[in-house]
Symmetry: C2
Subunit: 424 residues, 2 copies
C-alpha cells in the first residue's frame, strides 16, 4: 500500500522548483512555470536522479534527455522494463499535477516496493519524458515522439525557445548535461526499448467528476487534425460599402466557426477554434482584408475526424459565396494525429486494479481527449493510461487541483496495474 | 470654366509631399502617407499658404491649425465667408484623392475666379481642416469637431501620436508653427464663423459607379454608433472538454457577428466588425478565456441605428446562453454620431450645378456613408457635399483613383454651387 502522505509531500516539495502564479493563502496555492529544460527543470531532474539512485535504480539518459530509472526484477530477465512514465515539465501558467503526478506516483510505487521488500518478476522503472508540453520548444510530446520514430531527432534538437530563438532544445540539453549517450529510440541495439508503458495522469476534463467516477481506464486516445484557415477578402470602408459590394473575410470566418461547431456536434465530435487573427492595422471602420483562424477537429474514430473535416470544408465553400461578392480561402494541415487504441492487456491490468480498489461503479472506460506521451509509446510497446479526476476539469491553469485522496488512489492503481501486468 | 489640367497637375505635384506605396509604373502610381502634422503635411501646408496668398487671399490659422483662406467679395460685406473645405492629411496607406481633391478643387475655383476676373458678392474661401483622418492622432474629423463645439480643445490637443506617445497633437502644432491665435470656434467674437460650407469628396464607395452616375448630391450623412463587445468565457482544453462543459467566447462572438450582419440586412442598415482579438497567449488547443470585437452600426435614420443595436443586443443575449454552459458579455459605446441632414439651400445649389453640368440622369441624391468635416460644420452653418466616383469604390488604399474627368467635373460643380449659393 502506497504512502499517500509521502506522495503528497514529495509532490509539493519538488514543486518549489518552478512554483509561480499564487492564487491563495496556503503554501501549495500556486501554479507552476517549470518550462522544459529551464533551470528549475534541471533542478528537479537532478533531484529525481538522486532519489532513484537512493532506491538502487540504474539511471540512463538518452539523446533527448529522457531519463530512464530501472529497478531490477526477481528473475534478472533481460526483457525490457515495465515503465511508468510521464513528464516533469509544465505549461507557463500550468498546475502542480499535469505530468508531475505521473512521475511522483511512479517514484512512490518504487519506494513502496522497496520499503515492503516486494520485487516484481521483471524489471520495472520510471521514465521522465523531456518537453512533453511543447510550451517552450513548440512541439508537444516531443521526446516520446522521437523515441517512437515519429519525429526526426534533428528536428527536435533544432526546436527554438519561443521567446529566445538563440536557444535550442539541444543547446539546453548540453548546458544542463542532459544530452545523454543512448540513442533516443526503442531499438534494443542502440536505444532504450520498453516492455510496457503505464501513465497516471489527471483527466484534464470534466467527464470523471461529472459521472462521479474516481478512476478512468483509458483504452485509447482520440484522433485530431489541426488546420489553419486563411480567408481572403478586400479592405473596404464600413460606412460607404453596401453589403452587396463587400468581400468580408471576418463575417465569413464567423459563419465558418459557427458552422464547424454545429457540424462537429451532429457527429458527436469536437471542432474548436482557439486562435483568430486580423491584420494588426485593422480598424473599426474597415472591413478586414484577411483573417486566419485555427480549427482543431477530434473524435475517437479517424473516419469521423475526416468526415467532419470534409463537411466543414464543404460548408466553408458555401459560406464563402454567401455574402456580398464572396471571399476565397485556403488552408494548411498543421498536425495530423490519428486515433490510438491502447493495448488490451495493459487496459485489462488497469481495469483489474480499478475493480479491486473502487469497484466497477466508480471507474469508467474512456478515451483520452488529449495527446500524451503514452500515445507515442503505444506504437512500440504495450501501453495504457489511468486517469484521475481534477477539480472542475480545469488544467493548464495555476488552479489545477487533484485531491490528496485521488492522487493516492491513482498511485495505488498504478502500482496494482504494474504488478498485475508483471504477473501476466 | 475651371482648368482641368492645372487642377490635375497641382494635385499630383503636391502629392510629392507624402507619396508612398508605389503600385505601378507611372509617376503618379503611388498612394500617400501624409499623416496629420508630420513633416510632409507641414510642407504642403506652407505651399498652400503661399498659393492662397499669391491669389490675394487673407489667411487665418486657428488654435487647431485649421487654415482659413479668404477672398473678398464684391460687396465688401462683413458676413462670414462661403467656405469650400476638406483636408490635406491622409491615411498611412491612403490615396491621392481623399481630402486632397477637395482642397485642390477649392484652390482651382479661386484660381479660376481670379483668372477670369469673376467676383462673388460675398467673401469666399478655402478651409484646410487639421487631422480629419484621425489616423495619427486617433480622433477622426477632430478639428472640425472642435470648431463645432463637439470636442473640447484640450482633449484634441492632448491626443497622442499612436506610435510615439511622447508626441501630442499640440506639440506638433507648435513644432510646425501652426498653433494659431484665433479660437477654434464658430463664435464670431473669438473664432472663425462660416457663412456656408461646401465639400467636394470622392464617394469612397461603389454607389455612383454602380448606378453609372457622375455626381452625387449629398443631402446628409448617416448616423453611426461604434460599440466594443467583450465576451467572457473560460479557458479549457479543446481535446478534453465536451461542448456541454464549455464557455466558449469565440464561438459566441462568431455567432454574434453573423447575427449582427443578418439583423442589419433585414433593416437595410449596415453592421460591421473590423477588429476581433483573442488574448496574445491563445493557442490552437485552448478555448479562449475572452474575446473582444468591434461593431459599427449605420443607417441614415437614427431610429433604425438604435433599433438595430437593440435587436443585436437581444440576439447576443440569446446567443450567450446557446452553447455549453454559456458566456457573459459587456459592451462600451465608443462613438455616437447621429445622422445629419444637410442644408436644403446648399443641397439645392449643388443640385442646380449638377443639373446644368450633367443633367438629372447622371446625378443622384445620396447620403454619405462616412463621416466628413461637413458633418460637423453643418451644425453651425448651412452645409452640403458633392461626391464624385472613385474607381471600384476603393478608398483608404494606395490604389484609390478618381479620373481626371471626374476630378474636373466635381470641381466645376463646386464652383457652380458656390456661385449659385452666393447669388441666393
Ligand atoms: N495533453 C496535451 O495537452 N497534449 C497536447 C496535444 C493535445 O492538444 O492533445
Ligand atoms: N471619411 C471617413 O473615413 N471618416 C471617418 C469616420 C467614419 O468611419 O465614417
Amino acid at each position: 500500500k502506497i504512502n499517500s502522505e509521502r506522495l503528497w509531500n514529495t509532490l509539493h516539495e519538488t514543486c518549489e522548483w518552478g512554483a509561480e502564479h499564487r492564487y491563495g493563502e496556503k503554501p501549495t496555492d500556486t501554479g507552476m512555470a517549470r518550462l522544459a529544460l529551464n533551470d528549475d527543470d534541471a533542478r528537479v531532474r537532478r533531484w529525481f536522479a538522486a532519489e532513484v539512485q537512493k532506491l538502487g535504480c540504474s539511471l540512463s539518459v538518452d539523446q533527448m534527455g529522457n531519463m530512464f530509472a530501472r529497478q531490477s526484477g526477481r528473475l534478472n530477465s533481460a526483457a525490457p522494463m515495465i515503465a511508468m512514465g510521464s513528464h516533469l515539465d509544465t505549461q507557463p501558467r500550468g498546475g502542480r499535477y499535469d505530468g508531475i503526478l505521473g512521475i511522483m506516483a511512479a517514484l512512490e510505487v518504487l519506494r513502496t516496493m522497496k520499503e515492503s521488500g516486494f520485487q516484481t518478476d521483471y524489471d520495472v522503472g520510471v521514465v521522465n519524458w523531456t518537453n512533453e508540453e511543447g510550451a517552450r520548444f513548440p512541439k508537444s510530446m516531443c521526446s516520446s515522439g522521437v523515441w517512437a520514430g515519429a519525429i526526426p531527432i534533428q528536428q527536435a534538437w533544432d526546436l527554438r525557445d519561443i521567446h529566445d530563438p538563440s536557444v535550442t532544445l539541444r543547446s539546453e540539453l548540453e548546458r544542463h548535461g542532459y544530452l545523454g549517450g543512448i540513442a533516443c529510440s526503442s531499438d534494443p541495439a542502440t536505444g532504450y526499448p520498453l516492455g510496457a508503458h503505464f501513465e497516471l495522469h489527471i483527466e484534464q476534463g470534466p467527464i470523471l467528476p461529472e459521472n462521479n467516477k474516481s478512476i478512468g481506464v483509458v483504452r485509447g486516445a482520440q484522433g485530431y487534425r489541426w488546420l489553419t484557415m486563411t480567408v481572403h477578402g478586400r479592405d473596404a470602408h464600413t460606412g460607404t460599402t453596401p453589403f452587396s459590394a463587400r468581400q468580408d473575410p471576418l463575417l465569413a470566418s464567423s459563419r465558418m466557426i459557427a458552422a464547424s461547431h454545429d457540424i462537429a456536434k451532429r457527429h458527436d465530435a469536437l471542432a474548436s477554434t482557439g486562435i483568430i487573427r486580423v491584420p494588426s492595422n485593422a480598424s473599426t471602420n474597415t472591413v478586414s482584408s484577411q483573417v486566419t483562424f485555427t480549427l482543431d477537429i477530434r473524435h475517437p474514430q479517424d473516419s469521423v475526424v475526416h468526415a467532419v473535416q470534409d463537411k466543414c470544408l464543404n460548408a466553408f465553400e458555401a459560406i464563402a459565396l454567401q455574402d456580398g461578392k464572396g471571399v476565397s480561402f485556403d488552408w494548411t494541415l498543421d498536425t495530423d494525429s490519428p486515433a490510438v487504441k491502447f493495448d488490451d492487456n495493459c487496459v485489462a491490468s488497469i481495469q483489474a486494479a480499478a475493480d479491486q480498489l473502487v469497484g466497477r461503479e466508480k471507474s469508467m472506460l474512456m478515451t483520452s481527449g488529449a495527446g500524451h506521451d503514452t500515445v507515442y509509446t503505444s506504437k512500440h510497446c504495450p501501453s495504457a493510461m489511468i486517469f484521475v479526476p481534477c477539480r472542475d476539469g480545469v488544467s493548464h491553469h495555476p488552479t489545477e487541483h487533484c485531491s490528496p485522496q485521488d492522487c493516492a488512489l491513482g498511485t495505488q492503481a498504478l502500482l496494482e496495474a504494474v504488478v498485475h501486468y508483471d504477473q501476466f
